[in-house]
């Protein structure tokens, strides 16, 4: 997995503090964006804009939100991602730690998967 620098973390933290109105010390690498920091769906668009501006990068929607995989019957069965689907997810999101999710890969839990550290890893692959 990509390692990110302190500078990346600080920029991501600033973006999340601005977008979510959370305190600096709440933004830790382990914090989940939805569960711990309270991000709602509209906040993700805001976070993407802030990261694009801060790092001078372009973030295609499908890279952070693999909805096409999670809604594909080839990769989802009985509400859970199949092993084949997990392979697709890992290829699409090599920067994300999917190990916990993989233990019980219910689609409904995917939204609370991403952590601050995942975001830092993702950005580090783009710069």
């Amino acid at each position: 997995m990509t390692q990110y620098s302190d500078e990346v973390f600080e920029k991501v933290r600033t973006a999340l503090v601005d977008a979510l109105g959370v305190d600096d010390d709440e933004v830790t690498p382990e914090a989940t964006l939805v569960g711990d920091l309270g991000a709602e769906s509209i906040d993700f668009l805001d976070i993407v804009f802030k990261l694009e501006k801060s790092f001078g990068i372009t973030i295609p929607r499908e890279e952070l939100s693999p909805e096409d995989i999670l809604t594909n019957s080839q990769y989802v069965k009985d509400g859970s991602v199949t092993p084949e689907g997990m392979t697709e997810l890992k290829q699409r999101m090599p920067w994300a730690d999917l190990s916990k999710f993989e233990q019980n890969p219910r689609v409904q839990d995917f939204g609370n998967l991403l952590t601050v550290g995942d975001m830092c890893n993702y950005v580090a692959t783009k710069i």
Binding site: A19, I42, D43, L45, D46, F49, E52, K53, R61
Partner: protein
Amino acid sequence: MRWFWIDRFTEFVSGSHACGIKNVALDEEVLDDYCLAYPYLPPTLIVEGMAQLGGILVAEHFDWEQRVVLAKIGKAVYHRPALPGDQLRYQVRLEGTQDHGATIVGTSHCDGELQAEIELMFAFLEQGRFAEGSLFHPGDLAIMLRTMNLFNVAVDQQGNPLAISDKI
């Protein structure tokens, strides 16, 4: 009440920026009860004015095919109140675009002084969300924009006058 919070477009460059004027008048109902004995334009309506200016800038940039709504106010700083008789000169600039939204930054000046600074994010409503089709009755948007002088000042990136799209 008419929900028009700019009086007139004064400049519009497709995909770049837009400028407009808001005159504050004592006969406006919104000044009556907002702050008794000290009438001024509610600051939220300054945001709304620049959101209208910016929303049109975004909608035109996407060829009027997106249903553009104000989704987040990233920043709103006011340096002085907008009093009756003041003329606010708004300027908004398109800052970022995505498949699902856009951001603008804006300023309001009065008597040559910075009056307010804002950052706004717009999102595009998916079809079926809240309503189907356009957010406007047929022709209403075109009438509103004509009333606001848009097509007398609007140009594309090369400086050519913008045609009135049949999508509005």
